[in-house]
């Protein structure tokens, strides 16, 4: 690991003030510490967010669920309130990594890192969430730009994410058996006649499969999603799956997510 300076601020404003242009925020460390160990990341100043209680919360409102950036995946997965309000979100959190990763990994860390195969970006885009930072609110549709690239400015800190409550939602992930990341993951939500379908693991970053959304708005059944043929443009081809296989998987996994969403009772 390259050497680093370390700070552990006690408040959001102290954390933001500590940023010096070269620093990185440390959330759960499940991606960052590993990257530092392998010398893939050189971090001159590490700002540990673990000492800021305001960043941890789960707040259930009538129309949304607000989750603090340092809330651990395990906390979301085991929250009875989240499971009642947006079951697909609790399901998604429960499927991330393994139980040890879930005890440390955080929502904010996952989104700021924006791994192309991470689960939380699919929930954020699939529900049309908004990301509250220290300086603005960013809608999901604007947040994810490319490979590990988000709209966040240097030093901008995710404080919380606001997930709208929907009628139905479902998340299904075709897991890589060793890494447990999504070869393809699909988050489908339906509310007031509108459908969102967010796909992770298939391109440089999470994206909306608009052809599947349209098919489902006309007919919200698994068969409608499975029938959509996804084009190969920008689809990742790697050692886990070729582009053709991934593209085919997108329709299949999306249809399973629809089936899962239908199995739940209506939530709103």
């Amino acid at each position: 690991m390259y050497t680093f300076e370390y700070q552990r601020p006690q408040s959001i404003s102290d954390a933001v003030a500590a940023f010096d242009g070269e620093a990185k925020f440390l959330a759960g460390g499940q991606s960052l510490v590993q990257a530092m160990r392998l010398r893939l990341a050189n971090v001159p100043l590490l700002i540990d967010l673990g000492g800021i209680p305001q960043l941890r919360q789960i707040s259930i409102k009538a129309d949304k669920v607000v989750i603090g950036a340092m809330t651990r995946h395990a906390e979301v997965a085991h929250s009875v309130e989240v499971r009642n309000a947006i079951p697909a979100l609790a399901d998604l959190a429960e499927g991330i990594g393994d139980q040890m990763v879930r005890n440390m990994g955080t929502l904010g860390g996952s989104l700021a890192n924006a791994d192309p195969a991470a689960c939380y970006p699919a929930a954020v885009l699939g529900l049309g969430a908004s990301i509250q930072t220290d300086r603005r609110s960013i809608p999901a549709d604007d947040f994810f730009l490319g490979l590990y690239e988000t709209l966040l400015e240097p030093g901008e800190l995710i404080v919380s994410v606001s997930f709208p409550r929907v009628e139905r939602a479902g998340y299904v992930k075709f897991k890589h058996p060793a890494s447990r990341f999504a070869v393809v993951g699909a988050f489908v939500s339906k509310t007031s006649g509108r459908v969102r379908v967010a796909i992770t693991g298939a391109k440089a970053c999470v994206f909306r499969a608009t052809a599947i959304e349209q098919a489902l708005e006309a007919d919200f059944r698994p068969e409608a999603a499975a029938a959509v043929e996804i084009g190969l443009e920008d689809i990742v081809s790697d050692m886990n799956a070729g582009a053709e296989y991934r593209a085919a998987l997108i329709s299949v996994i999306a249809s399973r997510a629809v089936a899962k969403a239908l199995k739940q009772g209506r939530r709103a």
């Binding site: 460390g29 510490v33 530092m36 139980q99 990763v101 005890n103």
Partner: protein, 157 residues
């Protein structure tokens, strides 16, 4: 060399170590505190041999800086028994022969204890999924699953 002093509780005792900030929690546990029951089995945070409890939650000690654990309450495999009295999970692994070489075993035990907290009556499927973060090269997991079932049954009696 840049060093920092970290204070944390390990197996019920207050400890203080002065280390390079890059030191991982597993290195503090093994090299500075001499608690070598926690193992290092991989370079990629996948094997789970390094699993300990941090404030009651199972974590991979190779995937965190010791700095992240300051002020925390850490329990290692050495800390779950009392004198000659094995923890029920250790007893179950002994009874059901849930190990061969034993290298993954401390991590398996720490991880399984966490699993039963959330799933006190797990199905075999839930045990296999819950222990996804722990790899065993010897046993094929059969007796590990039996051991965890045995511990679950013992706990419910």
């Amino acid at each position: 060399m840049n060093t920092t002093t970290i204070k944390l509780k390990v197996n019920g005792r207050e400890r203080a170590v002065t280390v390079d900030p890059r030191t991982l929690l597993v290195q503090v546990i093994r090299e500075h505190l001499g608690l070598t029951g926690t193992h290092v089995g991989c370079d990629t945070a996948q094997c789970g041999c390094c699993t300990v409890h941090l404030d009651g939650r199972a974590v991979k000690s190779c995937s965190m800086l010791a700095l992240q654990a300051q002020g925390a309450d850490v329990t290692t495999i050495e800390g779950i028994s009392s004198g000659d009295q094995l923890h029920p999970m250790q007893e179950a692994f002994r009874e059901c022969h849930g190990l061969q070489c034993g290298y993954c075993t401390p991590g398996m035990v720490m991880s399984a204890i966490q699993l039963l907290k959330h799933y006190p009556k797990p199905t075999d499927e839930q045990i296999r999924e819950g222990l996804e973060g722990n790899i065993c090269r010897c046993t094929g997991y059969e007796n590990i699953v039996r051991s965890v079932q045995h511990a679950a049954e013992a706990a419910s009696n």
